[in-house]
Amino acid sequence: MKRREFVKKASLTSFAALLASDIVFGAYMPKGYIPLALQEADPFQLFKKHNEMVLLNDRPWNMEAQAHLLDDRITPNARMFIRNNGLIPEISNVKDWTLIVDGESAASKKTYTLEQLKIKFQQYTYQLTLECGGNGRSEFDPPAKGNQWTVGAIHCAKWTGVRLRDVLNDVGIKSDAIYIGYHSSDVHLSKSKGKEVISRGCPIDKALQDETLLAFQLNDEDIPMVHGYPIRLVVGGYPASASGKWVNRISIRNKIHDGAKMGGDAYRLPCDPVAPGEKVAEENMCIIESMPVKSLITFPKSGAILKNKKSLQIRGHAWAGELEVKRMEYSVDFGSTWNECQLDKPANRLAWQHFNADIQLPGKGYYEIWARATDSSGKSQPMLVPGWNPKGYLNNACHRIAVKVV
């Protein structure tokens, strides 16, 4: 009943809004444009999301997938998690959209229109893994602050755009450059003008990698509004917050970028490990760079009952931040024994890797299938929740599903 009411309200609102704006500004409306007033409507309909996605927050929008929704090799928009820090900006005319490149370590200051970026620089397409730094936060004890992500704040979609490196080189990078920071046009929750919602970035070496893109297409279409239309900085392998949405300015910095959510507890870990719940002084917090090794069983969905059979095929994906996954294993006996999965090479650097295995269960009863990935440096996923930190980042504990043989 509640749900029906919600949906009804949402569709009425969006219909009314569409009608009004179609008549007046129809020709100028960018594809995927969502008026600010609509940001309280039904997000499933508004953002074209699968109805089994889980809504964590509606102001700002935060929505995650479930493991079984992520079975596709390339994640479609309908199954991509949403993590917004502020309100989606109103973009009235994409032709007026510009990207400024500036900063202490920029040899000049340049402004590009979207069209100029597309024409002037060569375009590249990569499959890139973006995982929210707080994916898995819900498992920390004592509970960590923020949206309580379980396992679904991860996707690997196909991004098309120009290399950030090519654009930065066109502007000119001074030799003292050590970091880049992005600036975006999203609106602060308090609606105060000029207050940046989030302005993060990455070290210059990461910014200059082949796969670091200023993207304008997601899975061969314009990037949906909620994922950063018209331009998103895509920095695969890093916490997804480094991949700024609605980017309008990139600053080349001669110091670590100091924008919103670069300091305090945000996207930072205790430099030295702490006991669960321990207080950490700000100066003892270090910025997260590469995400850790992790994997997800995407088939079957947890809760499978096998009738008159003991064999089961599983599949999923594994990723390792800046590194590659070199081994993938599963266990049906809580880690007493591990068996190798068949593991594919990534489609390109920073893309997740697909795995599968044929499992023979020993007999009737309740089983859990645990998955464990190992990266190219030899690090494996822990079976327990790893080091506690104030904001509950980087929980890469093994994923598991429940199975019964009857």
Partner: protein, 156 residues
């Protein structure tokens, strides 16, 4: 050349006119047909719309111990929390989180320093007490059992 244009223009106009007449006929016959079938137009007076009107008129409505507009638990301090904490962010963010007094106070300080939250004065204690009493932390240990498993028969 301009004759061609004129012709295309005329042709377009005629097509649009015919389409318009056709569409209007369709709409009218549908409306009449529906009126004959359901003279009370009951499908347009659905119960859900009524609910919407009530909840809009009464933002403080409470049902089964839950404040309907925000989903927060009814208890001492509820409206202080609603008025101070749900202006900027959704109540869903509150309901998801579980912290002790010290950490809620730190979170409030963080919101004041970075998120434009105002001085809460005497209300801060009321708010923090409401949060720790109604949304208490629970022990999870290093790894919980799998819970809420939705069992189904896997074919093939």
């Amino acid at each position: 050349m301009s004759q061609d244009k004129d012709f295309i223009y005329l042709l377009n106009k005629t097509i649009y006119f015919l389409l318009f007449v056709f569409a209007m006929t369709l709409v009218l016959s549908a409306m009449i047909g529906y009126y004959i079938y359901d003279p009370n137009l009951s499908a347009f007076k659905s119960e859900t719309v009524l609910v919407e009107v009530i909840s809009k008129n009464d933002p403080d409505k409470i049902e089964n111990g839950i404040h309907l507009r925000t989903g927060l638990v009814e208890a001492e301090g509820l409206m202080v929390v609603v008025n101070n904490c749900t202006g900027c962010h959704s109540s869903k963010l509150i309901i998801q989180n579980r912290m002790n007094k010290e950490r809620w106070n730190e979170t409030i300080k963080w919101m004041q320093e970075t998120q434009n939250l105002w001085d809460l004065g005497m209300n801060q204690e009321v708010i923090v007490n409401y949060l720790v009493n109604n949304y208490p932390t629970k022990k999870k240990g290093r790894r919980e059992n799998l819970k809420d498993v939705d069992w189904y028969v896997l074919e093939n």
